[in-house]
Symmetry: C2
Subunit: 108 residues, 2 copies
DNA sequence: AATAATGTTTGTATATTTACGAACAACAAA
DNA sequence: TTTGTTGTTCGTAAATATACAAACATTATT
């Protein structure tokens, strides 16, 4: 238990974003936010087949991963994509998938 | 419990791939496979700071998600990326991140 | 002050994930 | 046949994740 992180930072960050997106409800939320202008909690809840407490929980995870941010607009709460981190995630996934991998003998 | 999947198939598939990548060990494995020609279990295990049983478990998850495939080459086991599904995942993530999202009033 | 609207937090139950050692399986070599 | 090499599977423990109802917090309205 000497070291805290055993993987390189970029790998950890990418895994963190992947984890945030590892549930269809959270993918749906991001897709919804991407195409919507105003994005209140209620609108998001309406789109999803789950209880509001669960929606709130998923939003919290996305927020903690840095992919979205919220703002109180009494009595509602407005959510939107955190563009800076969205771009960061985009870049990390892009790098990850665009590594040109060996086409040679790895023929299993 | 009437419906089996409450989200659209593309969303489910994307979430499934994200989940497979939601751990730094599995990201590392994919990165390793991407750059290596021969890729035996032992080589992968050597790269990672975890027990072989755990490595085997992670490989199983990647295999079940369709991202890799294995082949016995007695007495070793050779793993490599499943190119078809890798491309599928690449396309799904690309579409997901390249949705041009609203730049207007969602200013939280 | 009571009521309504909008979300968050709490409590809780269940399922899944992560990790490891030990046991096991398959095969080659001595 | 015994031994060694390579991985997988099993058993198990601890941590996380997922889902919901109920309670709560906040602010506006009556």
């Amino acid at each position: 238990m000497a070291q805290k992180s055993k993987y390189c930072e970029e790998t950890e960050t990418l895994a963190r974003y992947a984890k945030a997106l590892a549930h269809p409800a959270r993918i749906s939320i991001m897709q919804f936010l991407a195409k919507r202008n105003t994005c209140y909690f209620g609108d998001i809840h309406e789109e999803l087949p789950i209880a509001k407490a669960t929606v709130s929980q998923h939003l919290k995870e996305l927020k903690e991963a840095g992919l979205i941010q919220g703002e109180i607009e009494t009595p509602k709460v407005k959510y939107c994509i955190n563009k800076k981190n969205w771009k960061k995630a985009q870049a990390l996934f892009s790098d990850f998938f665009n590594k040109d991998f060996c086409d040679r003998e790895c023929s299993c």
